[in-house]
Every structure is written in structure tokens, then in C-alpha cells.
């Protein structure tokens, strides 16, 4: 079963069996011996991974290999059968984190104004009204968001709603931000716009970010590291670094570095798809 690295690879990339990231970045999340089974299929079996601190990690892989499952286990939405996940040696319950769902329409609270949606997690932390308002204002100023937050989510465009979701996740100043295919429900124009919004937010906050994506271009464009998963039981097929300077823009998409990394990822991906 464990043939993940048996195919000889000639591309000059950083390949690490346990996902040891490139030099220069501290490890934020350590995952050891992670296992998960759904009914009869073993999705993960003794999976190890290190997620670097203050970087943006994209997870990409064949359909149904468990990209979202991996992130949801890290974020505690799905319990793992076995294994250990630590955030700077702390368990999940000891840290603050943010999670952004793919379906913003169902993740936001339509009965609350956008502003109250963003404030909601602060309310759960029992912060007073003035403190909550100050934190949100601060976030708005930092991110340079220009949306009428007194509107209800359903009065906003899809991209704006997802931006509200992201702000709701960021307002608690999380150690780590999880995004589950955040732009896949948006049209292409909005996706391009939102990519750059997310990049700006990342540059501004430098929060460790984990992004599950089904769009390779997006995965590479946004990432410092791209985690390529094999078919199930998922192993690390490759762990690729992409170090182009930020802010990246449309010209990044045609630079040789981007083209090479994307081509390599596609190659690894297709080998995984064909492997079965």
C-alpha cells in the first residue's frame, strides 16, 4: 500500500517524507500518527505532518482523498481515531483558532447584521460591547474593508459574505486560520478578487493559515507550502515550497518559478490519480 514515493522523481523540489518544511520556519502544528476510518475505508493511517508557523499552507490532492477531513481533524470538527495534534505543544482546546466554511451562506447567521456576525465570537468570550466594537473597528481598519456592515449578510454579494466570514474568524486574533475551499462557491471574477483579499489579510496578520483548495492555480498562488496528498489512505505525495515574494499579482502567474512549481504539482497529482 505504501508506494507513495516509489515513483522516481527528477524535479528539483523539497521532498520530505514527514513533511519537514523548508529551513527558516518554525513548526507550529505537529501531527503524529493520525488515523481515521470511515466505515470500511481507511482515510488516514499513521499520518505525520509538520505545519510551519506564520506561513500559508495549501492542501491539494485527488478528489475524495481526505483534504478537508485532514483539516477538519486538525480543527477538531471531526474526531481522529488515533494520533496526536499539538499547536506549539498545546492541544486544540487551549488555543484560539478561526475556521471559514465553504458555504458562507449557511455559516453566517442571517438574523444578525454583518457587524453582529463578526462580533459574535467576541460575545461568546464575554467581552463587553465597547470592547467588541473596538476590536471589530480595529480589524476593519487593518484589513481596509469597505463593506456596509450594518447590512444583513443576505444583502451582500457572495464575496462580501465570505469576507465577513473571514473577518468573523479573524476577530478573535486566532493562532491559526483554517479555510475550507473558501472561494469555490464564487464566480471566477470574484474568486480572483478574493484571492488577493486573502493574500492582503495574510500579509497583514501573518497568521498561520491552512487552506484546502481544489484549484491548483489558487493553491500555489496563495501558498508558501503546498501539501500534495496521495490517494487514500492518504500519505504525503509531496510537500512543495513556493517562495515568490508577496504581494503576488497576475504577473506572478506567468513567472517561471510559479509555472515550474505548478507543473510539478500537477505532475505529482496526475501520478496519484493514475496510480489506482
Amino acid at each position: 500500500m505504501k508506494e507513495d514515493n516509489s515513483v522516481p522523481s527528477s524535479e528539483p523540489t523539497v521532498i520530505a517524507r514527514y513533511g519537514r518544511a523548508q529551513s527558516g520556519s518554525r513548526v507550529h502544528v505537529t501531527i503524529r500518527g493520525l488515523s481515521k476510518r470511515f466505515d470500511t475505508s481507511q482515510i488516514y493511517d499513521g499520518f505525520d505532518l509538520d505545519i510551519p508557523s506564520g506561513r500559508l499552507l495549501s492542501i491539494f490532492g485527488p478528489n475524495g482523498c481526505g483534504k478537508s477531513t485532514l483539516m477538519n481533524m486538525i480543527a477538531g470538527l471531526i474526531p481522529a481515531d488515533a494520533g496526536e495534534i499539538l499547536f506549539n505543544n498545546k492541544p486544540l482546546r487551549a488555543i484560539k483558532f478561526g475556521y471559514v466554511f465553504q458555504n458562507y451562506r449557511e455559516a453566517l447567521f442571517p438574523w444578525l447584521r454583518s457587524l453582529d456576525n463578526i462580533e459574535y465570537p467576541l460575545k461568546l468570550m464575554n467581552l463587553g460591547k465597547a470592547e467588541r466594537r473596538a476590536r471589530v473597528e480595529n480589524l476593519i481598519a487593518r484589513l481596509g474593508v469597505a463593506i456596509d456592515l450594518y447590512r444583513y449578510p443576505y444583502e451582500l454579494s457572495g464575496g462580501q459574505q465570505q469576507l465577513i466570514s473571514i473577518m468573523r474568524a479573524l476577530v478573535v486574533e486566532p493562532e491559526i486560520l483554517f479555510l475550507d475551499e473558501p472561494f469555490s462557491a464564487l464566480d471566477y471574477e470574484m474568486t480572483l478578487f478574493m484571492r488577493d483579499q486573502l493574500q492582503r489579510i495574510f500579509i497583514e496578520t501573518r497568521t498561520t493559515t491552512v487552506l484546502v483548495s481544489h484549484d491548483l492555480e489558487e493553491a500555489v498562488y496563495l501558498a508558501d507550502h503546498i501539501l500534495l496528498l496521495s490517494r487514500k489512505p492518504a500519505q504525503i505525495a509531496d510537500y512543495v515550497g513556493f517562495e515568490a515574494r508577496r504581494p503576488r499579482s497576475n504577473t506572478t502567474l506567468s513567472e517561471p518559478d510559479f509555472v515550474n512549481v505548478k507543473a510539478h504539482c500537477l505532475d505529482v497529482f496526475q501520478r496519484q490519480v493514475r496510480n489506482q
Binding site: 480543527a75 470538527l77 455559516a107 442571517p110 438574523w111 459574535y120
Partner: protein, 253 residues
């Protein structure tokens, strides 16, 4: 100034056509004039009846009974529906009983309720509350059970306790369905009250008025009472729809 949209007059066409046909039928005596008086006679009966006459008093009695029964029904069914709906297993275990009595015509329960509550207002209100309560109950329970999983998960991920998830998310999620239940419940309650007023030792109420007018062959009065009942049903539905739009502004969005 906003220009008047002629399309807003469309609903008037049906009303106008109905009254025109009625006038013609009465004019040419297509139907026995004793059975079908002219619209003018009927509306005059309605006007004098509602303005200080007996019809107005009966109208208010029916409003009072219907309101009382829907209040009792809502006070019991909404909390119970939330409780039952919060656990799918719990609801499944009582679902058959609810569906069975929901399917039982409430009028079949009159004799039973008469034995328990005696001949009086209590029986009428109790049967109506029972019928309406079951409709509200199952709508509320389904509203809670069908709360969007993503929304509950979102609250959980943000650290909300199970109690907060119930009060902050589930309750509001079930609100649109609760209003569907209230609207259906109030329609049913009105039907039951009117029937009860006709046949269960009543001396007042719209049902009593319709029945008595028919017995006395006072046809304009009977039509007047029927229209009053229709107006009441329509008005109650409109009232709940208006509250719903105000209150549950996000429904269907």
C-alpha cells in the same frame, strides 16, 4: 411621486367578476331569490350587523375564542416542539402519536372533550387548541431538527456551549418553520371554533350566527356571517404573514 402600477389592480378583477356574476344571477333570478339574495342586500346586512348589530358581537366572540385557543396552543406547543426537536431520537419516538392525532379530524374529538370539559367555551377552545397545537408542535420540531448543520457547526467551532447553540442558533433557525406552524394552526383553530359554535350548545359566535340565520331562512344575514368569517380567516393569515415578514426577515434568503 411614484407612478401607480396598474398591475396592483389585478386582484380587484376577481372580486369584481364575482360580484358581477352574483348580481346577474340575482337580477335574472337564475337561482331562487330566497336562497340567493342580491349582493346589495347581503352587504347591507353585513354593514348593519357589524356596526353595532349582533353580527359584530358574534364576530368578537369568535375572535376571542380563536385567539385564546391559539395562545394556549402556542404556549404549550412551541416549548415542547423545541424540546422534542432538539433530539432526533426523541422526536422519532413520539412522531407516530403526533402524526396520528394530527391526522384525526378534530371534530371527532368533540364528544370526548365534552365529557371532560362540559358544554361551554372550555370545550371549544380546548379542541381548537389541541388541533392547532399539534400542527404548531410538529412544525417547530421540524424547524429545530432541520437547523442547518453548517450553522450549528460554525457556532460550535467558535466555542459556543450547547445551551448557547440552542438559544443563539437553533431557536432562530426554527423561527421560519414556527411561523408556518402558527399560520396553519390559526386557520385550523378558526375552522374548529366555527364548527363548535354551530353544533355545540352555543348562543353566540360566527358559527352560531351562520347556523341560526340559515334556520330562520334569513339569507342576507347568513351570507353576511359567512363573509365575516371569511374576512376573519383572511385577516388572521395576513396578520401572521405581516408579523412573520417583520420578525423573520431572513426567511428564504
Amino acid at each position: 411621486m411614484k407612478r401607480f402600477d396598474p398591475n396592483r389592480l389585478l386582484p380587484v378583477i376577481g372580486v369584481g367578476a364575482l360580484i358581477a356574476v352574483w348580481y346577474l344571477a340575482a337580477w335574472y333570478q337564475i337561482i331562487d331569490p330566497v336562497l340567493l339574495p342580491s349582493p346589495t342586500q347581503s352587504f347591507r346586512a353585513m354593514w348593519t350587523g357589524m356596526a353595532g348589530g349582533e353580527l359584530g358581537f358574534d364576530f368578537l366572540k369568535t375572535v376571542e375564542r380563536t385567539t385564546l385557543s391559539i395562545l394556549i396552543a402556542a404556549a404549550i406547543a412551541i416549548p415542547l416542539g423545541i424540546f422534542l426537536g432538539s433530539s432526533e431520537k426523541l422526536y422519532r419516538s413520539v412522531e407516530f402519536v403526533i402524526d396520528f392525532f394530527r391526522s384525526t379530524p378534530a371534530s371527532a374529538l368533540f364528544p370526548l372533550f365534552l365529557v371532560v370539559f362540559g358544554v361551554g367555551d372550555a370545550t371549544k377552545v380546548a379542541v381548537a387548541a389541541f388541533g392547532a397545537g399539534l400542527v404548531i408542535l410538529f412544525n417547530v420540531a421540524y424547524g429545530v431538527m432541520n437547523a442547518r448543520k453548517t450553522r450549528l457547526l460554525a457556532a460550535k467551532v467558535m466555542g459556543a456551549s450547547p445551551l448557547r447553540i440552542l438559544t443563539d442558533v437553533m431557536l432562530l433557525e426554527s423561527l421560519p418553520q414556527t411561523f408556518v406552524g402558527l399560520r396553519n394552526g390559526v386557520s385550523l383553530a378558526l375552522v374548529i371554533i366555527i364548527v363548535a359554535e354551530m353544533f355545540i350548545g352555543s348562543t353566540d359566535g360566527l358559527g352560531h350566527r351562520v347556523f341560526e340565520a340559515q334556520q330562520l331562512f334569513a339569507m342576507p344575514d347568513m351570507y353576511a356571517a359567512i363573509f365575516a368569517a371569511g374576512a376573519l380567516g383572511y385577516g388572521l393569515n395576513l396578520l401572521f404573514l405581516t408579523i412573520e415578514r417583520r420578525f423573520v426577515h431572513w426567511a428564504g434568503k
